[in-house]
Symmetry: C2
Subunit: 322 residues, 2 copies
Amino acid sequence: MPNIQQIARMAGVSTATVSRVLNSYPYVSDATRQKVLTIMEQLDYVPNGNAITLKKGATHLIGIISVTFSPLLISFLDAFNLAAEKYGFNITLFITNGDAGKEHVALEMLKRKQLDALVFVLRTNEWEVIESYTKYGPIVTWQRLENERIPSVFMDQYEAYATGLEHLYAKGYRNILNVYPMSTGLNTLERRRAYADFAHRRQITADDFPLFQDRTSIRDGEELASWWVAQTHRPDAIFCATDEVAAGCITTLHRMGISVPGEVGIMGFNNTEVAHLLDLTTIHYPVQQQAENAFVIIHNMLNASQTALAPLEYRLIERHST
Amino acid sequence: MPNIQQIARMAGVSTATVSRVLNSYPYVSDATRQKVLTIMEQLDYVPNGNAITLKKGATHLIGIISVTFSPLLISFLDAFNLAAEKYGFNITLFITNGDAGKEHVALEMLKRKQLDALVFVLRTNEWEVIESYTKYGPIVTWQRLENERIPSVFMDQYEAYATGLEHLYAKGYRNILNVYPMSTGLNTLERRRAYADFAHRRQITADDFPLFQDRTSIRDGEELASWWVAQTHRPDAIFCATDEVAAGCITTLHRMGISVPGEVGIMGFNNTEVAHLLDLTTIHYPVQQQAENAFVIIHNMLNASQTALAPLEYRLIERHST
DNA sequence: TTGTACGCGTTATCAG
DNA sequence: CTGATAACGCGTACAA
């Protein structure tokens, strides 16, 4: 593997000149340019990216961290990737499976300048730990967070959840079971607050259903359906934490011969592909815009620029499960 | 940001000694070690990963390239990631959306030593183009390929498809519609060959169904269902290219009030999550092992080692759609 | 046990 | 228009 010096020597010029040719600087005579290019051809010269990285201090690599591969992460990745590639950035993926150590690997890579920035889709370490790394580069999160140093592209779910509840109310449901996502997340808090306010507004008395939370997977939905069937006092609608929960629930109910929305209404959240597949009423969430914004924020921080963020809007997708 | 020299100077030692402490070499007196460590602490010293990368010539980054985010890619990524992280490797993702240019970015990064190796899950460029980059580092593919320089972790689908067909036959289906994946891929060829041999073996005369290929998405499955309903002479079973096609098909049929497997049998391929969700009979494909093998091959090439590959096995998953 | 000095491959400044 | 040379930070023979 020849390097820039060999090329310089063989072409009878200095490395500076070779570098100029490489980066198509002006002020290089056509004669020397051609000479250099020819030698490069001959020796099959390839500039070493690591040397450039070391010199320039930028890798154009952004780390994205999540606990698992959820359908939502995929949408996020897809949109982020699209935005990033326009500016020559690529993505390094860290799936932690909840292992704080794996997350540390990513943080350390930022610290050691192997990554230009980090996006936390779903964190494992405490925010304090993560925050202590902000001095090494931009860190953005998708989760809800109020932190001076870690910008968030989160969109509050209170209103969106309230909209879903009002839809169920309008459809005649009065006995709604809420199934919440991660109990550690603030989304659950917001959704519970939205329900409390809704119940008060609509004068719905407290039910005696158990509290369902930490339910986000298809399997969770399947268990939910089994629970529903076993009850004597049943909810007439279930507002699921994710479309996947709704999917597992609705297919299991169908399998047991229970009609949806006849006997029970089912509602999802996020509008992922499975919601379309199973004709689920759900809330469309602007994941794409959030992902784009995550990139824009990073790009702004890296270049001290001021590109504006995209506005975030949710909307109710009414299908036939309610 | 202090560097190794500043630390050396402040500690009153040479950079070599600092480096030794950094990499916990033996033969450093405890006294000097402590002195150096203290200074590092004080100055909040962080070794620059890029400099190390340049010096050592390895990034411990492997690029993975695919056209889209299919459920199968996710399984692959997940398993690959698990294998890779044990050896300190991370993954950089390239989703090309069929853009050969984006694929070139990855190839160039390998060439320029920003990536240690490349895995083509789904390529866009011609193999010839890709092959010309093998001199810059290990390139492995998941697709079927017979190439000296590009190892493949592909598993032949002839037998698996034949097993699926025999299952349908055993269930009494005689009028099978085959829906094939990418017409450019060899999987389609193998599956068609399996069907031809099956038809001959079971003395099934040629049907007059159109040739369905390049069908891999949920939407493709939905269209397929519409097609099926519109026919007078209908197949009694559909062997779908992927579970997603089967999913789109079966839900649409249900929606139209058609019973599965009563009026038509539906069979998927790959055993992804949606197959479980919709209770689809399918073929389980050893994606995890293929992914692990991809990493093992790369690791072997990088270290001239000889770790053995995992054996590949498929199996029929019988559920209730046939 | 420690230090010197060079190499890794580029870019960028400054002179000419 | 071109060349010398100093960074960028670190690892490592070789010598002591």
